[in-house]
């Protein structure tokens, strides 16, 4: 069965498609969040090393995963938009950035709060925390660059360049921060200190990750719709849209 994917690369038909998909992803996210949190708080047993504090993991690890994954997705979409001049993929990249930045912030916040009872300080210059902080800077740079440019096409392309440069740099930054960290304090502080993770914990974490993923897709789709409306406000299909035409 051949689906004409190119049909959905036009903003007008994507708007409609997104409208159909948003409820599905929202419902999936809600259910999965509920299940994940239930497992995290009522099923998963107490960790013998960290006590109840480890329960932060159910939001911390998914947020950290999403922050990195979304940056790569943002760079991929922005790169496709730059290479093939497809407007929709650039809009997707722009829509991903705020959600990615939010997850980065959450990963930092929960990481710091987890660090206080475990390591005794809110912040350690651990390789992961430091790279996460730099990732937040990269997101902020991308968003402020796009915000500063009035012409949307230039904003798309300039954002794509900085996102791609960032994605090339992320492994270098991570590697250098890690090296710097071991040079300075040794590998005394490591997040992965508990290799044996109970199966229920792992299940809870995975469900929470998928929930975050579904949530991110739903929010990004809504934001893409908004961007499409903003950019195409003068076209005829927008004026014929349900909710616009009365």
């Amino acid at each position: 069965m051949a689906i004409n994917w190119f049909k959905y690369s036009s903003p007008a038909s994507f708007y409609v498609l997104a409208g159909k998909m948003i409820p599905l992803f929202s419902i999936a996210a809600t259910i999965l969040f509920a299940v994940g949190l239930y497992i995290g708080f009522f099923v998963a047993p107490t960790d013998f090393q960290q006590g109840e504090a480890y329960r932060i993991i159910f939001i911390h690890v998914p947020a950290a995963w999403m922050s990195m994954f979304l940056y790569v997705m943002m760079a991929v979409w922005a790169g496709i938009g730059l290479a093939f001049n497809t407007r929709l993929s650039s809009m997707m990249a722009t829509a991903i950035a705020p959600t990615g930045a939010m997850f980065t912030f959450l990963a930092l916040w929960t990481g710091a709060i987890w660090g206080k009872p475990m390591w005794g300080t809110w912040w350690v210059w651990d390789a992961r925390l430091t790279s996460e902080l730099i990732l937040l800077f990269l997101y902020i740079g991308f968003m402020s660059l796009q915000a500063a440019i009035d012409d949307p096409r230039r904003a798309d392309k300039a954002g794509a360049v900085i996102a791609l440069v960032g994605v090339v740099n992320i492994p270098i930054i991570y590697f250098s921060v890690k090296w710097w960290n071991t040079l300075h304090q040794g590998a005394t502080v490591s997040v992965t200190s508990s290799p044996k993770m109970a199966a229920t914990m792992l299940t809870g974490m995975l469900i929470m990750s998928i929930a975050c993923w579904m949530y991110a897709i739903a929010v990004i789709l809504i934001r893409t719709q908004t961007i499409i409306l903003e950019r195409e406000r003068h076209t005829s299909w927008v004026s014929e849209l349900k909710g616009v035409s009365s």
Binding site: L138, A148, V165, I173, L183
Partner: protein, 219 residues
């Protein structure tokens, strides 16, 4: 072709010598402010020195990024460069090298003197200068991308810092790390060769990315 651009930019810089001196004095002042802030204790200063000099070098080279393309943009030379048959990447490489010669080289030459303020040993001074010599061209090359992207934007100066400073981090880590490693007796070879690798990689990739960015900004 790059040589011609370098020559031209150097000539222009010589005509406006105060700009060059401003960057250099900024560097000197920032480095000299740190002891006043943290106290004159020599042991602490000695451990801080490489980091302080490197951070000041990052800021100084970033400050002058705005000038890399803006004057050519305003007088229309940049437009001529874009439509000229010469490869834009080579022109950009020339401009980045000129930026380095004008801002980076004075910093490199000044750094041993500033290192003495911090009571660094001769070996450490040598390594500091070598690391700056390898690292500052990388700063100019990466900075060129940021300068090209923010060309003609309002608030471009602050924006450039947001875009470029996170990308400078690996250079900072290995630049300052080289001096620390040598004072710790580990040898600075690994750090310096990594800085060299960064230099080579940015020599290849950055002019190309900058050329793409310039075309985007000039559309």
């Amino acid at each position: 072709m790059s040589l011609w651009v370098i020559q031209r930019d150097l000539l222009l810089a010589m005509r406006r010598r105060s700009d060059v001196l401003t960057t250099l004095f900024f560097f000197i002042i920032v480095v000299s402010l740190f002891p006043l802030g943290v106290g004159p204790e020599m042991n602490m200063l000695r451990t801080m020195a490489p980091g302080v000099v490197w951070v000041a070098a990052l800021l100084a080279s970033m400050l002058s990024l705005g000038r890399m393309f803006s004057s050519d943009y305003l007088d229309g030379t940049l437009e001529q460069m874009l439509i000229s048959p010469q490869s834009l990447s080579m022109l950009v490489l020339g401009k980045a090298m000129a930026h380095w010669l004008v801002t980076g080289v004075p910093l490199v030459l000044m750094s041993p003197v500033l290192g003495i303020q911090y009571d660094l040993s001769t070996d450490a001074l040598l390594i500091l200068t070598a690391s700056l010599l390898l690292g500052t061209p990388v700063l100019s090359l990466i900075g060129a991308i940021g300068a090209a992207l923010t060309l003609g934007l309002r608030g471009g100066g602050v924006l450039v810092s947001l875009l470029v400073l996170p990308l400078y981090i690996p250079v900072l880590i290995f630049g300052a790390g080289a001096v620390e490693a040598s004072t710790a007796g580990l040898g600075a070879g690994a750090h310096l060769s990594l800085l060299g690798a960064f230099l080579l990689a940015s020599l290849v990739l950055s002019p190309w990315a900058t050329a793409v960015s310039l075309r985007i900004s000039m559309e």
